[in-house]
Symmetry: C2
């Protein structure tokens, strides 16, 4: 599930990006009447276009897109009855794993079901979101968090039964996705209801995130498992179009049982050096990020070469591909990487603390704990995509006297394992939950990954203190405080995007529960928040306000659910206005707590709160911050409105 920004090195190369335009696609599809050859050609064209989209976006899941490409090409061209066809039985398809959205988009574009211009708009505001969203035509349900697909299919079919409609629901799961408990929770009800119109396909590419499924959390006997839950099971080569077609034909003869097609696929299939099989037990390099330019051009050569070789064998002329300029991106110059600093400090402490064990839910590199695993493998436990199990296992380890530190993305850890975190808290043990990829950015993956309600989701867990550091130094303080000072559990919230920071913490600064630090003095308005994203924007907004003669303080308050009212009084009683900034929904974020603390402390400043108010948009980071009014301009605008209420005291 990892999300990486395309590295700036990748942008230094030469050359243009390549895609197949509509006419090239039409020519290829007309080149043969053999439906297997036609599907193979189309799948390779879509691979080329998928790569183009990911290069344009700067990120996206290649491996997962390529492994499912042949399957979905067959489905959409030969198997599914289009829901817009008006047929009595129309089919619905969706990807439960969601990561292969670029593959599906490129296919839907190639089939004319999506506007061709959207090819250039992956992960852009108003374009194609990083994970599937029902706002896009032919996307049946929102996915991106794993394991919900079969339940959704059950609901869709139960709905159809009650509204007189017919047709199948075909959905794609990952193999790593089968580690999620909800998959197994959903299997038996589907079988009990005899929903024979559900067909699940397991894209069994043997890799998840950066490693093999077997190395992360082996799946055991997949086919036996589905059969034990009452499903009809077939297993095929997921790159053999004839075998896929035959399996669906056989499924059609089984009426009262849900079906699962376990499709053996190859992650990254179609570009030799991107194929998972090539890296053995090593790290798979093409899970989530855009490739380097060298890799990209090599992949384009291989794909275009194969496409034209196939056409030549069919006595057809080669295709003409279309070129587009590379997008220009400005990389930060000396970015702070909070998660890296965290992981480094954690490892340093762990060397002298044998009670520390690290748990991970298949997001090793995004959580900064690769070095920990390398150096202390016996104290590292990979749980796979099984957040509930991981958190309860951490609970058991804490009961046994260890100090467990559980890792995942904030969006999954705070929600999927929400009750398990609470259950652990009621035992009074000490556990650290490290939640990365927090907040609105990176905004490319979309709302499934933008964790903007985790403060609310875990903020009332008894004894659990939540902290978000604003820089590498505070990140080191935070993990050290959680291990060495706090007696109960801690939730550490991290922004993953590396960024240049315009501020530094005072040299004397140390963490003190509920108390923040004034980074910059000011008397007209105080901008108060947490984390690198909005503290940076607040600082830059204060620069702009200063030019207008408005004196704005910038206050960093890393405590997300603990606020010291004495500190509040001391810090804000002589300022005219307070603007709280949440990289989170405003309803129950830090800003609400700060505003409440201002009221309880008797501070009479004018107060306003900025933050999210609805589902976060998908797009480039700059687009999305502006869209939600959380960019520098948005903070300046809100400050103007607030200061206008307040008589200016020079």
């Amino acid at each position: 599930m990892g999300e990486k920004d395309r590295s700036d090195e990748a942008l230094r190369g030469q050359g243009e990006l390549t895609y197949a335009a509509s006419d090239a696609i039409a020519a290829a599809r007309a080149a043969t009447s053999d439906r297997y050859e036609r599907a193979a050609l189309l799948a390779d064209l879509c691979r080329l276009n998928t790569l183009y989209m990911i290069m344009q976006a700067g990120s996206g899941h290649i491996g997962s897109s390529f492994s499912s490409m042949d399957l979905i090409t067959w489905l959409w061209t030969e198997e599914l009855v289009d829901p817009n066809s008006g047929a009595a039985r129309a089919d619905t398809y969706f990807s439960s794993k969601g990561h292969d959205a670029p593959a599906l988009y490129s296919l839907l574009i190639a089939l004319g079901k999506l506007d061709f211009d959207l090819m250039h708009r992956l992960r852009r505001l108003g374009g194609l979101p990083g994970h599937p969203d029902v706002a896009v035509p032919f996307i049946a349900t929102n996915t991106g968090s794993l394991g919900m697909g079969i339940s959704k299919a059950y609901g869709i079919l139960q709905g159809r039964r009650r509204t007189g409609k017919r047709g199948r629901v075909v959905l794609m799961t990952g193999d790593g996705e089968l580690q999620e408990g909800q998959i197994w929770e959903s299997l038996q009800p589907v079988a009990n209801e005899q929903l024979g119109d559900i067909v699940a396909i397991v894209d069994h590419n043997k890799y998840q995130s950066d490693s093999t499924v077997a190395a992360v959390s082996d799946l055991g006997l997949i086919e036996d498992k589905f059969r034990a839950f009452g499903w009809e099971v077939k297993r095929v080569d997921g790159h053999d179009f004839r075998a896929i077609g035959d399996a669906f034909a056989q499924f059609a003869r089984v009426v009262n049982k849900p079906k699962v097609l376990v499709a053996d696929t190859i992650k990254g299939k179609g570009v030799s050096f991107m194929e998972g099989i090539a890296c053995g037990d090593g790290t798979y390099r093409f899970h989530a990020g855009a490739p380097s330019l060298d890799d990209y051009f090599a992949a384009v050569r291989e794909l275009t070469g194969r496409i034209n070789a196939k056409l030549a064998a069919l006595h057809q002329p080669p295709l003409t591909f279309t070129a587009a300029p590379q997008p220009v991106r400005v990389a930060p110059s000396k970015p702070e990487r909070l998660v890296v600093a965290y992981g480094d400090e954690l490892l340093d402490i762990a060397r002298t603390r044998p009670d520390i064990v690290v748990l991970d839910a298949d997001l090793l590199s995004d959580c900064g704990i690769e070095a920990f695993k390398e150096e202390l493998p016996y104290r590292f436990i990979e749980c796979g995509i099984a957040e509930q199990h991981m958190v309860s296992a951490a609970g058991g380890m804490a009961l046994a006297g260890l100090l467990p530190i559980a890792h995942s993305f904030a969006c999954f850890l705070s929600t999927r394992a929400n009750e398990q975190i609470y259950n652990n808290a009621t035992e009074g043990t000490k556990i650290i939950y490290t939640a990365t990829l927090a907040g609105l950015v990176p905004a490319g993956p979309g709302h499934s990954h933008q964790s903007v309600r985790d403060i609310s989701a875990i903020g009332s867990v008894p004894g659990l203190v939540a902290i978000e550091p604003c820089c590498e130094r505070e990140a080191r303080f935070a993990i050290r405080w959680a291990i060495e000072e706090h007696t109960r559990s801690t939730y550490l919230r991290f922004v993953n995007v590396p960024m240049d920071l315009p501020y530094t913490l005072p040299t004397w600064y140390t963490l003190s529960v509920g108390r923040g630090v004034t980074l910059r003095e000011g008397h007209d308005i105080a901008l108060v928040g947490y984390g690198p994203l909005l503290t940076s924007n607040a600082w830059l907004a204060a620069d702009q306000l200063a030019l207008e003669g408005i004196s704005a303080a910038v206050v960093n308050l890393p405590w997300l659910n603990r606020i010291d009212e004495d500190w509040i009084w001391h810090t804000f009683s002589r300022v005219g206005a307070v603007l709280t900034l949440d990289n989170h929904y405003v309803t129950l974020g830090q800003g609400a707590m700060v505003a409440a603390a201002l009221a309880r402390a008797g501070v009479r400043a004018d107060v306003r709160s900025l933050g999210l108010t609805d589902v976060p948009a998908c797009g480039s980071n700059a687009e999305v911050l502006a869209h939600h009014g959380l960019d520098v301009a948005g903070i300046v605008r809100a400050s103007h409105e607030l200061v206008r209420l307040t008589p200016h005291v020079p």
Copy 2:
């Protein structure tokens, strides 16, 4: 998982309660050297004492306690190595299902491992909590919410591996509990790690809550499932001590695989008319509440008769049992039952709204939807104990054009399915989540069931409006508003405890988003909150304050995550102080939002917030409200402190 208060009718009967004191237990255990006969005698004595404890407490799970009684009696007397024995290999036992805590308590008391006086203190403050808690000796982990046990066992064993300890972890699951996805999420990791020291016992009593497992959500091939996940499986009669003993002996010979014992048991085993098998497919009456006095005395006659008949067959004198007076309880005189009113109004609306479908997670009667199921069975979907699946299925149904209404206890619905609720919200569909058993009371089941962080957990879900009605009339308004007026999703939060209410809503009152209603005018202080529990206590506190010359307003604000700042200004700008009242943690409850809104609206009143600040206590409702300062006296006390700050303006 249902929790019912013992009905007041049950209290009108005659006679005293009966239990076996220490000497009677000792006499019975000494009566035979046959370990199977001895275990059977002890199990029946513990059944008698379990019933006594449940009668004293007024609630508790008889059926689940009795079905597992024989199994745990065998384990604790013949199989487990006591963790306090100092042996090189010591075993840990816990109940993952947790509902059978009274059985385990009565056994631990009988074995002298718990203080005998605790017999009289089930579900009382400082006594034995309704569900297992590590504060009690020999309770290894906190349970009460389902499905976490195997993960906890995994963690405990991984912890032991790393701290040089050995021994088994034996845990008991329910059969309905197998519907929870986390069970299946946890099985494969345990098998992959070859944790042969984990033994799970499935108390396969064929009933869950009020109905058969088969009727709710059939389990399919239990043994095949566990085998497919790599577990060693045995199946026995869970009331045959010899078979249980043999199975454990066989398990001891399998080293590198986790084991599961599927134990066929009878819910309510040991009292003929309480046995599940006796009610066929009908409603099982002894899941969660205390029995009627008639049933109780009949059960005592049967148990004592059998115990003494067994002793007679062993040529032993009959036992002398101990009598204790029945507890005195005052029932409300004209209680309002909000959930019943809700269910009635929902059914009324549904008769003319064919798009409404009702989903349930095995809490039918506690959610007020029995009549709905009876009258509109085709629009009722029982999902079993599978909250994640239920919520995603509701999402699918909404996508298919229906209006799904999903039901469970607040503690499970808001947390177990937290990410699924969010995922649905991002699709912009309309779903109603009805969450019952909200808040601090009933306080007997303990913290797993006391939902005091759900406002926080779901309050930031985009578009989701949360409401808690304060009376039957407002309950009817709320469901009607959610169905007929609100365009997005709604979370309806209900207190289940029937209570007399000292206030009524004004006749002109209707719901208006974010705006409350002043039930009683006052100018020194305003008490603002929601729901029947604290609004009642606020009213009674205002009565007391009035006697002291303090004029207290009582304001009902049913909106839990929407607050209209104009209304805030209008309502509170002329009051000296505001005390917010949360039947929830104070950190991110309604009180924090009200305080924040007061600050943003520029209201200058002194503000303080009452609510939970740590894990809720277990006990009688009155004990626990007083313990947390949320009873009438606590509100008066807090009002005094707050008004003292404020100059009294007559």
